[in-house]
Subunit: 338 residues, 2 copies
DNA sequence: CTGAAAGCGCTTACAG
DNA sequence: CTGAAAGCGCTTACAG
């Protein structure tokens, strides 16, 4: 097919040297192999002249390395993920690594396929925002000595690096901010997902209730069918819990969807109901009134993820001791919770 | 290194067959090669049992195909790009192709590096949202017989497939909508970029002025320094052009940034100034008042891009006749322009 | 200082 | 119906 590309062989032939010599020079091992500076220079000049670039497929086949990292997110269309993806891409790029993203859309099946495709493609490391049911596959990756960092949520049964935030505390503080403001009936709108970050956020809410003795009002929208169910479920939740004077949303899409519904119902924020959302973004900032939100330290997370992965990659093997890091989040207070 | 993976050789040895036979069966050529059904079944069963998956690197090395498409966007953090990326990913996935994204952030240098890295990685096709200065590189890709689709903007000097929208007409209609509403001093806020889509949008604005005899008010924010310059430039533009009663924004980030500034200046929309934005998104929809916006047909664009690329890939060579498709956009009218 | 040769895991003419 | 063998473009012991 496209066999017009120049190869090491072509170079060695043209210059009357061996493939070995060319390869060493190309890989910066000229000095180490004590190749004369003249030869090295000549080769480099020629390489530049003819515009040779190595075939990474061939290189990967023999070295087992591709300088590529697979990044599995829930949905690249979600600003939280596209922002962190953007940051991770940049960090990785600066270290000579490329990122391949893909979205699971929360589906275990798709996630499994993606992991397998990344493995087949020979990625060096994995950054995974796991769906449910991924435990076995990830355990196996670890057994095969592959570098993995879990992100946003983890799998309790799997020993692996994890970088995220302290969700329990973040939600506790968000709710406490509402209670401190005199709210008496604080509701929590979340999903029925069993993902760790969701469990922790709910736990933060419950801790506040326990401490303050306030009553619980929880709406769990079915994770698999949020688009369809949010509106009817949220509307009847509001109707059936008329005492609610504040709501904490466990995700940004729940918040944004509900804010639109509240607007249509002419519920005044914060006069009738105060609101706090999870994951800050432009919509929440520009909403009228501005929406108080828990902000995750994206830049720091991106850095920790990449550093950890590159370290493992450099060590060349999976470390026994895994990192489980929960960064503090920050509550950005805006008019919606005053 | 990680040489624990099973290979075709292992299978052929275990089953007492040749690599050839295994390879044919694995590639669905069993019937074509008239391999007995029993043998084929036995091989498939064994493959499944031991969990063999082919090494795509090796396969790619010999076939020259990787079933991967490189997608170069301006910024994956921009909702316009993350949305279309999401759609393209899905379409490609359904056809057995994987997408590798990366962002140029508008930098020619980064774009060149990305194209080269994609080439080195052996992607089968390229979807490129080009920056300036990419003409030579893309011409060369075409000469090397690689499949390319340009998207969002094109390069006038390069013959290549292009899928986008009719920007001139879209902006013309957006402005006409304002003029029809009785606006007398319609401003255009754009960048100084020479990218085709920006030129066309400006041209649409100018056509309306010409038709109606209205006066021109154009602000061009420096593309390379929008973050720093938007606020001061926009504020003095408003101050120096007090007659303005409507503004068309040429991009979503210009619109969103300016809306925030207008809010801080207590400019009432649409009472004092009507507003139309380009590229719809959640922020514009939920802004108070809702912002009228030009919506691009993302789904249709994604489909056209992938279909075109796959067709070229199937034909196995670059078609002489290139497609240059400009889809119609749709104006979504909201309160900001009433 | 440099080269000949094996091998990474596949595919595919060619031969029977 | 099936196999032996060459080759894709690299890297890397090994030898001198």
């Amino acid at each position: 097919m496209k066999r017009n590309r120049i190869s090491i062989k072509d170079i060695s032939k043209a210059l009357g040297l061996s493939n070995t010599t060319i390869s060493f020079i190309l890989n910066g091992k000229a000095e180490e192999m004590r190749i004369s500076a003249q030869v090295a220079e000549k080769v480099l000049a020629y390489v530049k002249e003819v515009g040779y670039t190595p075939n990474y497929l061939a290189r990967g086949l023999v070295t087992g390395k591709t300088n590529t990292i697979g990044f599995i997110v829930e949905s690249i269309g979600n600003p939280f993920f596209s922002q962190i993806a953007s940051l991770i891409e940049e960090q990785a790029y600066n270290s000579g690594y490329k990122i391949i993203y893909s979205s699971t859309n929360g589906k275990q099946e798709k996630a499994l396929e993606l992991i397998r495709m990344f493995r087949d493609r020979g990625v060096d490391g994995y950054i995974i925002c796991p769906t449910d049911g991924l435990a076995e596959e990830i355990k196996q990756l670890r057994e095969e000595n592959r570098s993995i960092v879990l992100f946003d949520r983890y799998l309790p049964s799997v020993v692996a690096h994890y970088i995220g935030i302290d969700n329990e505390r973040a939600m506790y503080e968000a709710c406490k901010h509402l209670a401190d403001g005199g709210k008496k009936n604080i509701a929590m709108v979340t999903t029925d997902s069993e993902q760790t970050q969701m469990i922790s956020r709910l736990a933060g809410y419950q801790r506040l209730l326990k401490e303050t003795g306030l009553q619980s009002h929880v709406l769990q929208v079915p994770y698999d069918d949020i688009k369809q169910r949010l509106q009817p479920d949220f509307e009847s939740f509001i109707k059936n819990n008329p005492t609610i004077d504040a709501i904490c949303f466990a995700t940004n899409y729940l918040a944004i969807g509900s804010l639109e519904i509240m607007r249509n119902l002419h519920i005044s924020i914060p006069d009738q109901i105060s609101v706090v959302a999870f994951d800050d973004n432009e919509v929440l900032r520009l909403f009228q009134p501005g929406i108080t939100a828990v902000e995750q330290p994206l830049e720091e997370m991106a850095k920790l993820i990449i550093d950890r992965l590159l370290l493992d990659l450099k060590l060349g093997k999976v470390t026994e001791k895994t990192v489980h890091k929960e960064l503090p989040a920050r509550l950005i207070i805006r008019a919606s919770s005053l």
